[in-house]
């Protein structure tokens, strides 16, 4: 654990990506280590979602290098995309159960739903839930078995004040146990968070 804590889990070198004739970012070089929390900021359309998709291997059209120090990233990855991955025809529990089976996660689904404040809604079809509640179903996976890398696209969207606080605590405790957390949002978890800012085709590590 102490050994791996200091080596970089993720190395980006001169990463560049263009889309629809526009350079989203270029010359992105950074290293992220286990136990760090990275916040990615930037205006709408700055390329935050695309960057995360490159990191998790969903987007392959880029220049430069994106390398994980994990042989099989998928085993250790928890990725929540821009769309939360919730089907409206299924209940909260059914959605969560499928996500866990697919991702090889185990744990007590009910207490995870409790942690995101959805206890009592587990049998309600997601169609009847609000946008924030749907996102919470996906977020419940953060309270299930641990993965070493979390990549979260706008986890704070449509989450109320109480939810924000408990999500903050969850990210901090995960980082404390050696998880690398990378997320996009304008919300800062706490002062120690490192920040990457995308703007005008440039990417810079702000703190």
């Amino acid at each position: 654990m102490t050994e791996t804590a200091n080596t970089a889990l993720l190395t980006l070198a001169s990463l560049a990506c263009e889309r629809d004739d526009r350079v989203l970012f270029s010359g992105l070089t950074m290293q992220a280590r286990a136990g760090e929390i990275w916040q990615i900021t930037g205006a709408n359309g700055a390329g935050k979602t695309t960057l995360l998709r490159i990191l998790v291997g969903l987007h392959g059209f880029y220049e430069g290098r994106c390398q994980w120090a994990i042989p099989r990233l998928q085993e250790e990855l928890l990725y929540l995309g821009h769309q939360p991955g919730i089907r409206e025809e299924l209940s909260a529990e059914e959605n969560l159960r499928f996500a866990c089976a697919l991702n090889g996660q185990a744990g007590d689904l009910m207490s995870a739903l409790q942690a995101v404040g959805l206890r009592g809604f587990e049998d309600v079809p997601a169609a009847h839930l609000s946008a924030g509640q749907k996102r919470r179903i996906a977020l419940a996976r953060l309270w299930l078995s641990r993965k070493r890398v979390w990549v979260l696209d706008e986890p704070y969207t449509a989450i109320d004040q109480h939810g924000v606080e408990s999500l903050d605590a969850c990210l901090q405790s995960a980082a404390g146990q050696g998880t690398l957390v990378i997320y996009t949002s304008h919300h800062r978890v706490d002062g120690r968070v490192r920040r990457l800012h995308l703007a005008g085709g440039q990417a810079e590590v702000v703190s």
Binding site: R53, G60, Y79, G85, L90, F98, L102, G104
Partner: protein, 222 residues
């Protein structure tokens, strides 16, 4: 295995809660076939002559039209991204989806096909070959159609484009499927033709899901 079973159960549940996705292809199948006696002639001899082709073309179109929704909602809701970043090979959940989709849309077509064959004045001895040919042919149509659905999943005008991509790929199945029934009507041996359909099925089942998974990756931007 856990991922396969979970995906299969989820797909069956989803289709069960969207009964339109099961019923519409079936109604489409029945309606298209019943247009022909009105368009050509209700005269039994003429109908029997075109019946193998009519029933087969209608089944083919019904399967094709049902393919468009196979990945669309999963893509819009972000489930497809989950599927591609999961620690299982994408081909496993994809195969489960295909199996569920065929069970809920292809199998009903197989079950009503003898009825439609009878309505189209096919001789009774040709009804069993008709059913068998549709049983062996529709899974191929589902898998090949899914390749097209995977390649067009993120596109706005998916429906008509899907038809342009997929229809040429359906031609061999159509030829041998309808051919089996025609052979039966003419009193010839159908085993050989059905064996060819089976061989096509083996080919599509072995390579098709891989192509579908590759298509989904490409559509996600990889």
């Amino acid at each position: 295995m856990r991922a396969f079973r979970a995906t299969l159960m989820r797909e069956l549940l989803l289709l069960w809660r969207n009964p339109a996705e099961i019923i519409n292809p079936l109604f489409f199948f029945v309606m298209v076939v019943s247009l022909f006696p009105l368009a050509i002639s209700p005269e039994p001899k003429q109908l029997a002559l075109v019946a193998p082709g009519v029933v087969w073309v209608a089944a083919l179109l019904a399967v094709m039209l049902s393919m468009d929704g196979l990945f669309r909602r999963d893509q819009e809701s972000g489930v497809l991204d989950q599927l591609l970043t999961a620690p299982v090979l994408p081909v496993i959940p994809v195969s489960a989806k295909l199996l569920a989709h065929w069970l809920m849309t292809g199998l009903p077509l197989v079950l009503v096909s003898p009825l439609l064959g009878h309505m189209m004045q096919l001789p009774t001895l040709a009804l069993e070959p008709l059913m068998l040919s549709i049983l062996l042919g529709t899974p191929s149509l589902t898998v090949v159609g899914a390749i097209g659905a995977a390649l067009t999943v993120g596109l706005n005008r998916g429906g008509i484009l899907l038809a342009v991509l997929v229809l040429p790929l359906y031609i061999p199945v159509l030829i041998f499927g309808a051919g089996a029934v025609t052979t039966a009507v003419q009193g010839g041996p159908v085993d050989g033709v059905l064996a060819v359909l089976g061989a096509l099925l083996a080919l599509t089942l072995s390579l098709g899901p891989l192509a579908v998974a590759a298509g989904l990756k490409i559509s996600s931007g990889n």
